[in-house]
């Protein structure tokens, strides 16, 4: 409505005969997209909300099958109270893991991305173009293929991670190669005893850091190049050290670019289906399962469509909250524009 008020409107007395078409014209542009989305996006979304209150299952799947029974909030309650009949399923642990997974990744991506961008942007660095060209690779190789490759790389016997570690360990520390049969994916006990994270979390983290930092480097590089050189000049004259220049000039001026990129990273990582589903498969014992992989299992393996629908409604609500929080952080930093 505010948009309408802002638009320059013609004086009211001059009524064109075509004005009704002028008012309707924008809607003609919207018809194709909203017709398609109405059928294949919005109607399914509403239908899904209805499904979430039923026991929709395999028996209701045939097109002439009877309607499923209304079960009220049973699906919603069962999900939160861990009564889905899935072994090792714990909603609250999973939600906590999902959030920890998201923030631990994005923090490392952003820190490493900025660090490398700062090095790459230093005056007089050799082979800049070579590094720039090479570091783009993790962005351009399809993520799902990378997940599959890492899955095999983390294999205890034939994977390149253990084989590489064995070579490095022998070369630098004279360690026996037999030490490096690490079961990255399926070891159940926690490597750091006070942290409830399995080794597969660290494997996922390694793979996702490999995937994620170049994007942040590119965003940070773009922002670095737009910082005026005179600022550093002035700081040097005033006697600021290199690290003072970094903390007082570089970092604050990177913020307007890094905050939206981090928000994007947070939403992406929160729903990182491909990597987790293919690399660890949520294992061992569902320890690295996130919300979206569980939703997929409910549909694909359990065939509990009603429960899955309720689960997806929860995902929607959680994402909405996450987006609202991150958006308000973005808005809070918007005024920072120097």
């Amino acid at each position: 409505m505010t948009a309408l008020a802002q638009s320059p409107t013609a004086p009211k007395k001059v009524v064109h005969r075509r004005s009704i078409w002028r008012v309707l014209n924008p809607y003609f542009y919207l018809i194709p997209a909203f017709l398609v989305m109405g059928v294949i996006t919005y109607y399914p979304m509403l239908y899904q909300v209805w499904m979430s209150f039923t026991d929709y299952g395999l028996k209701n799947l045939r097109f002439d099958a009877p309607l499923p029974n209304y079960v009220g909030f049973a699906n919603y309650i069962n999900i939160l109270t861990n009564q889905l009949g899935l072994s090792y399923y714990d909603f609250w642990r999973m939600l906590g893991f999902n959030l920890f997974w998201t923030f631990s990744n994005v923090i490392i991506h952003v820190a490493l991305g900025i660090f490398i961008a700062v090095i790459l942007n230093r005056q007089g660095l050799w082979f800049k173009g070579f590094y720039r060209a090479l570091y783009i690779l993790p962005i351009v190789v399809p993520q799902i293929i990378v997940a599959n490759i890492f899955r095999n790389m983390f294999d205890p016997d034939y994977g390149a991670i253990n084989q590489g570690l064995a070579i490095l360990g022998k070369f630098f520390f004279g360690l026996s190669p037999d030490l490096f049969h690490i079961h990255w994916i399926d070891q159940v006990n926690y490597p750091v005893s006070w942290l409830p994270l399995t080794l597969s979390y660290y494997a996922l983290l390694i793979a996702n850091v490999w995937l994620g930092w170049p994007f942040m480097t590119i965003v940070a590089s773009g922002a670095l190049q737009s910082i005026p050189k005179d600022l550093y000049e002035a700081a040097r004259i005033d006697g600021a050290s290199e690290s003072q220049q970094f903390w007082r000039i570089t970092l604050p001026l990177l913020r307007p670019a890094m905050v939206p990129a981090s928000v994007y990273g947070i939403v992406m990582t929160f729903n990182l289906f491909n990597l987790i589903y293919f690399l660890s498969g949520g294992g061992p014992l569902r320890q690295t399962e996130i919300l979206i992989t569980t939703a997929y299992r409910l549909i694909n393996e359990q065939r509990l469509y009603g429960v899955a629908a309720a689960f997806c409604v929860y995902i929607f609500i959680i994402l909405l909250i996450l987006t609202l929080i991150t958006n308000s952080i973005t808005r809070a930093t918007e005024s920072y524009d120097a």
Binding site: T41, Q48, W126, F127, P142, I144, I145, I149
Partner: protein, 319 residues
Amino acid sequence: MPNPGKPSFLTRVRWYFQGRTSTGERGMSFGSQILSQLFLLLMAAIVLYPILWVVSMSFDPRDISRPTELRLNPFQGGLTLKAYADIIKQPTANPVSLGQLMFNSFRLATLTGIASIIVGIFASYAFSRLRFAGRQTLMIAVLTVLMLPSIATLPALFVLLNKVQFDIGGQVFNLRNSLIGVGLAVLSGSLPFAIWNMKGYLDTIPKELEEAALIDGCTPNSAFFRVTLPLSTPVLAVTFFLGFMSTWTEYPTSWLFLTNPKDFTLMMALYNMVGQYSNTTPWSHFAAMSILIALPVTIVYLFVQRYFVGGLAIGGVKG
């Protein structure tokens, strides 16, 4: 006479290795140059490690099912294309050829990519240029879907598309169990992204160009078709490519929907070559398959990434 303003080639080479800028200003000290080079080389090695590993494995001449020792140099001990030849014949135990798999993925990716830009561009234009009642509400409606991962609407899409079933000449056609159904489900998620991505670009095209066309006697609609639409060709291409790329490697929807091997897609075949079902698959086959899937999109992405990576809108969220 050499131009005194322009340093000679040799001077510039000397400056380069002294870590100076192209104008000869002092740049990095030698110590920090070496430290930076060591770190950047380490990162380069980390980036290249999985890629070299998988490439050498696909060319491995030893014809063994599992790599027993690390091999990162594809040329070590000779190359063989046997893995590729095996893959092209029949990638998995399913009775379907690589050509068929590629054709299925290609059809799916091309058609959903084209559909998303053709259907989406008009809405993008309306959101970017036109003012109308309900604009904010409708934009929020698009953004809401954008925020949601595509898997989160799969329960309903599966159930609803499964209801569309009819007989064609004695054969039962089920929309859910067909590439068209997968395409519709994929489009349901990619269309909001396409709309948002293209709107972002249209916002950057100066309004004055259209206003000039209006003064020259264009109607508002023909100003869109004759001025704005031709100018937005780059974003149409990029949006198509991003849609193509994500559908080319799409897994969850196709795996859930399709049961007939002749409809299978590339990623479904690759899934059969890793993890629990892969005991009989030699890893050289897996490596060759990964490369065959990744290479076409990676090459195109390498050429087009400079135009949009970094400026990538929040729209890229859709997985």
